[in-house]
């Protein structure tokens, strides 16, 4: 990793390292290395570099004195860099925006700690905090129901209990009953999700709280399989699997929104602002409904079976209007 670190990045680390040790009086090499995300060897290089700094004013002197004998770092002289540098605008903003978002999360218990922390950081950051007011995140809490569900899910997580959901699957226009062993409550892109082991699907699933029709905490302990691995939501909520069907759709300019709302494997510009997209889906019912909604603004190119299914559905729907 050393190779990718620039001189200024390393300077930043050194300027944090000295106060890190000073504020703790003495601290272990291993612990410090892990706090700074470097190896112990890199840390020792940093410490040696600090110790070697020399100024001539006019006689040479070493402003920083430290030792790390026995694996314990002690800074006995830190001169003028005993305190960390102020927060930069980006740094203050990143934290404050995130904290204000957390304060909106449904079912968050630590609201008082959050507001105290926000006030302290605003004070410490001073002017650097002002730009953070220009960035805001709204957490969607679809209705009071979702807030109550979030609280129930957190209670079930804390008590290790199984949940029963009545959950709407729009792709199939179906309300499904399922038992779920909850494993986390996620806020992704401003929207709350329950993650858990779905006993019906026998797989990890993410459930959007605004699609939960009803929810009940069961008097049954949650017992997800030992090898159940939660989905890493950082990798995106949409995970194509090898069994997914690739669907090719041509969209008019008015249908371009599809490329924004659905994760597309590829998006190609055609003439007149039209797009050709490829979606991979485990659920062709979802695409059939999408095609019906798009009308002439979206044309399924393949697979042929889906082209037929959409035409049949449209024909049957039109027949309903013929009295």
């Amino acid at each position: 990793m050393t190779a990718s670190v620039t001189s200024t990045e390393r300077l930043q680390r050194l300027l944090a390292l000295v106060p890190y040790v000073v504020s703790r009086k003495s601290v272990g090499l291993a612990e410090t290395a892990s706090a700074f995300g470097v190896s112990e060897r890199e840390l020792v290089d940093d410490l040696n570099l600090l110790w070697c700094v020399e100024l001539r004013a006019p006689d040479p002197y070493c402003p920083i004195d430290l030792s790390y004998e026995g694996g314990e770092i002690v800074v006995s002289q830190a001169e003028s860099i005993a305190r960390p540098l102020r927060l930069a605008v980006d740094e203050a903003s990143a934290l404050l925006v995130a904290l204000r978002m957390l304060a909106e999360v449904p079912g968050m218990e630590d609201r008082s700690a959050l507001s105290r922390l926000i006030a302290k950081l605003e004070a410490a950051a001073g002017e650097a905090a002002s730009a953070s007011a220009q960035v805001a995140v709204q957490v969607d809490v679809p209705d009071a129901g979702a807030e109550a569900y979030a609280a129930q899910i957190r209670a079930a997580l804390a008590a290790g209990r199984r949940l029963h959901l009545n959950y709407y699957v729009p792709g199939r226009d179906e309300a499904t009953e399922r038992d779920v062993d909850p494993m986390g409550l996620h806020i992704v892109e401003g929207r709350p999700y329950l993650q858990g082991w779905c006993l019906r699907a026998e797989a990890m699933r993410l459930f959007r709280l605004d699609r939960v029709l009803s929810l009940e905490v069961l008097d049954v302990p949650a017992s997800p399989p030992a090898d159940a691995v939660p989905v890493d939501v950082d990798q995106g909520l949409f995970r194509p699997s090898p069994g997914d069907v690739p669907v090719v759709i041509e969209l008019s300019a008015a249908g371009r929104w599809v490329a924004e709302y659905y994760p597309c494997e590829s998006v190609a510009e055609l003439e007149d602002g039209r797009l050709r997209v490829v979606l991979r889906t485990p659920d062709t019912g979802m695409v059939r409904r999408l095609a019906l909604r798009l009308g002439e603004d979206g044309r399924i190119v393949s697979p042929p079976s889906l082209v037929t299914a959409v035409r049949e559905a449209a024909t049957a729907a039109l027949a309903n209007y013929v009295v």
Binding site: A57, E91, Q134, G273, L318
Partner: protein, 327 residues
């Protein structure tokens, strides 16, 4: 990475923080080892070093000790440099760890990590990524912000530095992107998407843009500090109002096949069996909607399971969609 450069920069910071007085470039050259002999080389290197320090947010001040001094001097005031004293309670430190994880892998992730490092350097014991993971499983909550839109980075910089920008924008349903010049006031995430709000110079009006519809690069078109955010501007409100669903003022009556149309039944005014006798498999659903176009799309998506009885314009719009599929 050059070790010598790091040493020189560190020496420069310590030297300028320790001096109460402004030091001229020449005095700095004498005090800080590592600068080259030839004047030209020294000047160039010193200029770059000053830039580097300012980029890190180090408040390098320029001034003179005496009005008659010819050469400008430099210093760093400790009060401007140092993070003020900050003490956190245990529960505050715990949520700090959560906040730093919100941006993981997104645009401001590096900034959040940098902030956390400085706070830990100030003696605050907050969780590192590993510990935060454990704490999160206890919290059972995983808040995340993503910035997949490439426009986020430059727009955040523009908002932060109060600079106007220009970009091409493809408004909903339009095939041709249009050039826009914007004085950005703020970026807002709503419904999981990023928006920028500000004054559209071409239209001389307040406008909101969705970042995912910005095509190509965002370019600065004015110096930092040249945008003024009008007093009392609430960017959040601007975006919320722009994005708000209009009130559902219209009423629709639909026939919905029994056991289907869950989405149509949710929030319906009334659902009852179709009393016409000859169709026991159907329910009559009365519901409210805001926009004929949107609701026609939605109703059409239910295919043969939903039939619009009223109003006629909605019925026509659904028929148009369905015929469009067969066109």
């Amino acid at each position: 990475m050059s070790k010598r450069k790091t040493e020189r920069l560190l020496g420069l910071v310590v030297c300028l923080l320790s001096t109460g007085r402004y030091l001229t470039a020449e005095q700095i050259r004498q005090a800080v080892p590592g600068y080259p002999e030839p004047d030209e080389l020294f000047k160039r290197m010193f200029e770059r070093d000053k830039e580097d320090l300012r980029d890190l947010g180090i408040p390098l001040e320029t001034g003179v000790n005496h009005p008659f001094d010819e050469d400008p001097g430099y210093r760093i005031r400790p009060q401007a440099y140092e993070l003020p004293e900050l003490r956190l309670e245990a529960d505050e430190a715990a949520v700090l760890g959560l906040a730093a994880r919100v941006w993981r892998r997104a645009e401001l992730a590096g900034a959040a990590a940098g902030a956390l490092l400085k706070l830990r350097a100030a003696g605050i014991d907050t969780a590192g990524p590993q510990e935060a993971d454990e704490r999160l499983s206890r919290h059972g909550i995983e808040p995340r912000l993503g910035t997949p839109e490439p426009a986020f980075g430059p727009l955040w910089e523009a908002v932060r530095d109060r600079r106007p920008v220009t970009f091409s924008y493809r408004a909903a349903g339009r095939s041709d992107p249009q050039r826009r010049e914007l004085e950005p006031w703020g970026v807002v995430n709503g419904h999981g998407r990023w928006y920028v709000a500000g004054r559209d110079r071409g239209r001389d009006a307040t406008r909101v843009f969705r970042l995912s519809r910005i095509a190509g690069p965002v370019k600065f078109c004015g110096p930092p500090g040249s945008v003024t955010v009008p007093a009392g501007t609430e960017v959040r409100e601007l975006v919320r109002n722009w994005d708000a669903a209009p009130a559902p003022e219209h009423t629709a009556v639909l026939r919905v096949r029994a056991g289907t149309g869950v989405g149509l039944r949710q929030g319906a005014v009334s659902v009852r069996p179709d009393g016409s006798g000859e169709s026991p498999d159907w329910d009559l659903v009365t519901t409210r909607f805001a926009d004929v176009g949107w609701f026609a799309d939605y109703t059409a998506s239910f295919g043969p399971d939903a039939v619009v009885l009223d109003p006629p314009d909605l019925r026509e719009a659904v028929l148009r969609r369905l015929k469009g599929v067969l066109a």
